[in-house]
Assembly symmetry: C2
Homo-oligomer: 186 residues x 2
DNA sequence: GTCTATATAGCGATAGAC
DNA sequence: GTCTATCGCTATATAGAC
């Protein structure tokens, strides 16, 4: 199973053969078929396994602290998460197979982006109620924040290009948080 | 060539056979090989052809009008562009094959997102010089704006999920532009 | 349960006639 | 230039021995 996850994530569905998986796992092909039935089934299970470890951890951020404290840390963690090689690979595999395996999109979207947006929107709403931000639509604001945080860093890695230098990323994240706080200042 | 573009966009590189392309084009496989040499070459040409029609048209937006006028229209056009089925498919194919065909990422990124950011950054810089916006880093601001505009609408289509309803999209775009203008008001 | 061996089909690419 | 026919290889999936 670990071999399947690794290979599917790296080479996609069509680009990975059951022979490859069996060889990487050190077993025979028949063993793979005995356990998982067919290749499609194995693919679904592999992606599903990966997706469940691809959300942001709500307990890792301080949901009571004011946004000036929480948002920079949240931004850093979020970008670190979505630009990790594993997250990028699973993302690319799910989108690359979106037409032929629609269930993968649903799976990834639900266990990844949607959960993250929920966490952030919940935090923003709480802060709005506490009077520390002026936000009418916390979900929209969350999408705005996360969308602009990802932007170039995420896209460059998605296309397998040179990453944005760390120093530029740090500055960009600070700019984003500052810009977000200006726009939603009470 | 049209058949190749269509099939590669729908099924990716590994998922498309030269037999499929030849059949769709109504010619024999040998004819395809006579014209394009090998499958990889044909793939590169197909993606390249698509990318050149995937930028935002700088002449379609009024670069002299103030941001309150220009940005809503620019936002609308941008989202329409990046959420078109063709753009989504090419995007997904390039990312899905990013590990095995790195040149595709460079190709798409250069002729797509990078050009758009340049256009928007240029506009923002001009407006900043005219004193109608207060922006220190026009490129960062452009990435912020485009990143948050895409967000959920683009991601849902990327994963082949139900699109965000048009009315919600309109409201979201308005919110984004308003939020951007608040943050960068002089 | 896991292995080796194999069936069957499709792949990219080529040869040679017209 | 385009066709049919085919090569050599690899793919998914299965059969049967241990």
């Amino acid at each position: 199973m670990a071999a399947a996850v690794e290979l599917f994530a790296r080479n996609g569905f069509e680009g990975t053969s059951v022979d490859d998986i069996a060889a990487a796992a050190g077993v025979s092909k028949q063993t793979v078929y005995s356990h998982f039935g067919c290749k499609e089934n194995l693919f679904g299970l592999a992606v599903s396994a990966k997706c469940k470890t691809s959300g942001i951890d709500p307990e890792a951020i301080d949901l009571d602290a004011p946004p000036e404290v929480t948002l920079p840390e949240l931004a850093r963690r979020f970008l670190h998460l979505v630009t990790s090689p594993e997250a990028i690979r699973v993302h690319n595999v799910c989108t690359g197979s979106a037409e032929t395996h629609p269930e993968l999109g649903r799976l990834f979207f639900k266990h990844g982006p949607l959960e993250t947006v929920d966490v952030v929107a919940g935090y923003l709403e709480a802060q709005a109620r506490a009077g520390r931000l002026r936000i009418d639509e916390p979900r929209s604001a969350a999408w705005q924040l996360l969308g602009m945080l990802k932007a170039e860093s995420h896209m460059r890695l998605q296309f397998n290009l040179e990453p944005v230098p760390a120093r530029e990323v740090d500055r960009y994240l600070r700019d984003c948080v500052a810009m977000f706080l200006r726009a939603y200042a009470p």
